[in-house]
Each structure stands twice: as structure tokens, then as C-alpha cells.
């Protein structure tokens, strides 16, 4: 216990020192206006997550919870939808920059050289099919198991 307390104290002191160094880097190597703009961007990022993305995820989770039952085919389908939806949604967030800038290569043919909305739709279709097949396999396996004496 005493060792853990010591480790925690060291981590807090080290972490605080590293954060102080980060603040110095942020303030010392660019103008104050630039540093303040970084702060504004950080607030926007948090608001986008906490007030937009997270409530949407909360709402969809609530809806899926209402649709799914304790068991059976419907619950399996809802589980598959939740898993597939998570994969597709997180992929969409990961690709937000290319999806927003799709086609804007600024004259560089080797940059942003794909059809990103179509690409996301294609991957989403594959994820839905795989999740659907996995759900079907799960239902079939459960029924086979139930028939066995």
C-alpha cells in the first residue's frame, strides 16, 4: 500500500511537471493569439464530443435498448446492429477530415485521391453484411443447440 502511494505521488508530480512544460511550449513558441486559438479549438472539440456526439450515442443506445429483448432473434439483431453501428460510426469520425475535404486536393493528384463518401458507404455495407451473417450464425447455432437432447 505504501509503495502504491509512493508510485501515485511520483506520477502526479511527474505528470504536473510534464503538463507545465507543455504549457510553456504552447505559450513560448507562438504568439498569445495563436495559443488562445488553440484553447478555442480545444473547447470546440470538447463541446462537439460532450454535447453532440455523446448525446447522439446515448439516444441511439437508449433506442436499441428499447428495441432489443432479453433474448431471441430480435435481441440478436439488435446486438448486431449495435456492434455494426459502433464500427461504422467510429470509422466515420476517424474519417471526418477526408470526408469533409473530399475532392479538394489543391492541385496535388496524390492527395485525397479517392471518393470518400462512396468509400464509407462501401465499407459500411460490408460491415452490415458481416454483422448480419454473424447474427444469423449465432441464431442458427442457438437453435441447433436447443434441439439437441
Amino acid at each position: 500500500m505504501r509503495a502504491e502511494t509512493g508510485v501515485r505521488a511520483v506520477l502526479i508530480v511527474l505528470g504536473a511537471a510534464v503538463m507545465a512544460y507543455a504549457a510553456w511550449l504552447l505559450l513560448d513558441r507562438q504568439t498569445l493569439d495563436q495559443s488562445l486559438e488553440v484553447g478555442r479549438w480545444a473547447i470546440i472539440a470538447v463541446v462537439l464530443h460532450d454535447a453532440v456526439l455523446a448525446p447522439i450515442a446515448l439516444g441511439i443506445g437508449w433506442l436499441l435498448g428499447r428495441l432489443g429483448g432479453a433474448g431471441g432473434v430480435r435481441a440478436t439483431a439488435v446486438r448486431a446492429a449495435a456492434a455494426a453501428g459502433t464500427v461504422i460510426a467510429t470509422l466515420g469520425v476517424t474519417g471526418f477530415a477526408v470526408l469533409t475535404r473530399s475532392g479538394d486536393d489543391a492541385g496535388n493528384r496524390t492527395l485525397l485521391d479517392r471518393d470518400y463518401p462512396a468509400g464509407l458507404l462501401g465499407v459500411a455495407a460490408v460491415v452490415v453484411v458481416v454483422a448480419g451473417l454473424a447474427a444469423l450464425a449465432g441464431v442458427a447455432g442457438a437453435r441447433l443447440g436447443a434441439r439437441r437432447p
Binding site: 501515485r8 505528470g15 510534464v18 513558441r29 479549438w41 470538447v46 446515448l58 485521391d113
Partner: protein, 391 residues
Amino acid sequence: MSTLRERVPALPTPTFSSRLRSPAVAARIGVWLGLAFAVCFVSGLISHAIQIPSVQGEIPFPTSPVWIYRVTQTLHVVAGTAAVPLLLAKLWAVYPRLFQAPPRGAREALLSVLERGSIALLVAGSLLELGLGLMNVAQWYAWGFDFRVTHYALGWLVIGALLVHIAVKLPVIRSVLGADVEASDEDRPEAVEPGVLTRRGVLRTTWISAGVAVVVASSAAGTAPVLNRIAALSPRSRRSGIPINRTAAQAGVVPAATSGDYACSVLLDGAERRFSAAQLRALPQATHTLPIACVEGWSADGTWTGVPLRALLDEVGAPLGRPVRVVSLQRSGPDLETVLPPDFADDPRTLLAMELDGEPLSLDHGYPVRLIAPNRPGALQTKWVGRVEVL
């Protein structure tokens, strides 16, 4: 006398009854997210050290094997891309804590404020760091601050806040990682309802999401053999050959690079000699297959042909063991010039290349002459070389 808390009506707080949003799930995702951040941080420090001129001479970087820089920056982008779904899942698991009322005692309240402050920095820093990284790879600069400075500083901020967070949560982390994922010892009292998925199902979905993001959306996958066919959200591909970061037009270098008067100046101890493209071709030529690897995670092998820099230095009588500055014809930009440490300048694989894959260099790849050296960041492989200075 009533306290302020008793007089002010409490804000309505949502009830999070799902047992999926639990420390057991959050800690398991947190382990992998922490590892991803650690990989990003270390690989980022490596690239930073190589690219800052004042540090280059202080920290030696080997010329062999030639894939070291490529691997570190692939890891940087792969870990950073995987971190996006991991971070989203981690924040989903701990979202109820955002609405948790502060403790009542003054000391406890103060500690809570400090802890929440460090978490606010960790969350804000992580979201912004990953967001800026993704935007940078797509060359989407929608801000007025310096990307390189900010990305570097935020890296330190996130690691510092992460250390504090681990310290604060260490007892809970040890408790939940030492027990089964379904154990409820550390759960919030109201988190009792079963979710749509099991906890193991949430974790499996998170790992799959991270894997899919890396394969489909990372710039590393976009330029990798086989994977490039399914990397539908990668900002880079190999469809137009080896990727480039700045075109000749963007660098404003087209007139100088295509001028019939082109000559490469070589400066040694105050004396200058000029070599036309034809004179450079008349010097001993060599061909090497070397990767060009970008800090943005993409990389590609190319077969480069040109004059070994050492042969050119021999031609002007430059001794071994001197650093060499290579300067572009462009007037400005972060890739205007680079200083090669002596071991890179003298390496026989370091070329002033004039051909790529058997074809004359294209204008966007640095025509008429570009630098290509083993194990160097792409931004330091100076294009449109106009001057070589022996330092």
C-alpha cells in the same frame, strides 16, 4: 444557515443505469488507449528530434537500416488512428462521471476540482491532438496557429495529464483489472441494468472498430501493398505513383526548376563551382532503392538514380566528415533546406537523384535534381536542389 448547495436547486442529471458504462470496461480500453498514446508520443519525439536543426547534431540517428524512420512514423499514424475509436469508446464508458455531483467536504471538493481539471485537460488535449493529426494528414489547415508547435506541445500535455489520471485512478484500475470484466465491485450503484451488448461484446466491438479504422482510414494503409485496395478513407493512395506533399506549383518553383540556365552550386570554404544538369549526369551515377517516408504516415519504396552526393563532394575536393546543407530553388517553406550530418552526407546511398523508377524525375518529385538519403523524413529529402554547401 443553509449552504449554497441547499439553496440552489440541483440541476437535473441523467440517470445512466447501464452496467456497460463501468470502470471494468473503461480501464480495459484505457490500457490500450494509453499504449497507443505512448507509441504516438515516442515516435513523435523521434521525428521531432530528427527535424529540428538544433537537435540534429546532438542526437545521432543511424543511416541503416533504412526503414527505421519509416517504421516509427507508420507506428505513429497507426497508433494515432487506432486511438480515435479507443478514445471514443473510453469516453462513452466514463460519460456518466461528467454529471457526477462534487463531494461535500471542502478538502474533498478541492481534490475533486483538481482531478476534474486534469481530466478536462486530458480529454480536451486528446480530442484536439487526434483531430489536428487527422486534419494535418489531409492537409486541412483551418487554423492560424503553428501545427507543428501545437501538435508537439499537446503531445506533452496529453502524456502529463495521462500520468496524473493513472495516479488518481490507480487503486480502481488495479481492482478492476484484477477481477473478471463482469465483476461489479467498482460499479456506480445505479449501474445495474443489462445493456444491449455484454461487457465482453463492448470490448470486442471496440477492438474491431480500432482495427477497421487503421486498415480503412490510415494513410499508412493507403500506401501499403494490398491494404491500399481497402483503405477507402485513407488520404493517400498509390494511384498516381509515389505520393508527394508539395507540388512544384505550390512551392512556386516551376520557372526556376525548368529554366534552361539551371545549375547546382557547390560551395566549399568560400569557393563556388556550378554544375549543369548535363555535367551532373556526366559524373559517376548510382541506383538505390530507398523508401520515402513522411511524418504523416505514408511511405513508398522508389528506385532512385543519380550522382552520389559523396561523388560530387569528391569532385570539389571536400573532405570526409563534414555536414552538408542542401538548399532548394524554392524561396520559402518548411522544406526549403536541410542539413545532412556527416554520416548521411558521406553515405554512398545518399544521392542527388535525377531519375525515379527508370524515368526522369517529374517536376513534382523535384526535377531536375532532388536529394534522397536513407532513413530521413520526407520533408528533409529536399526537392529542386539549387545549392549544396559543405559546412
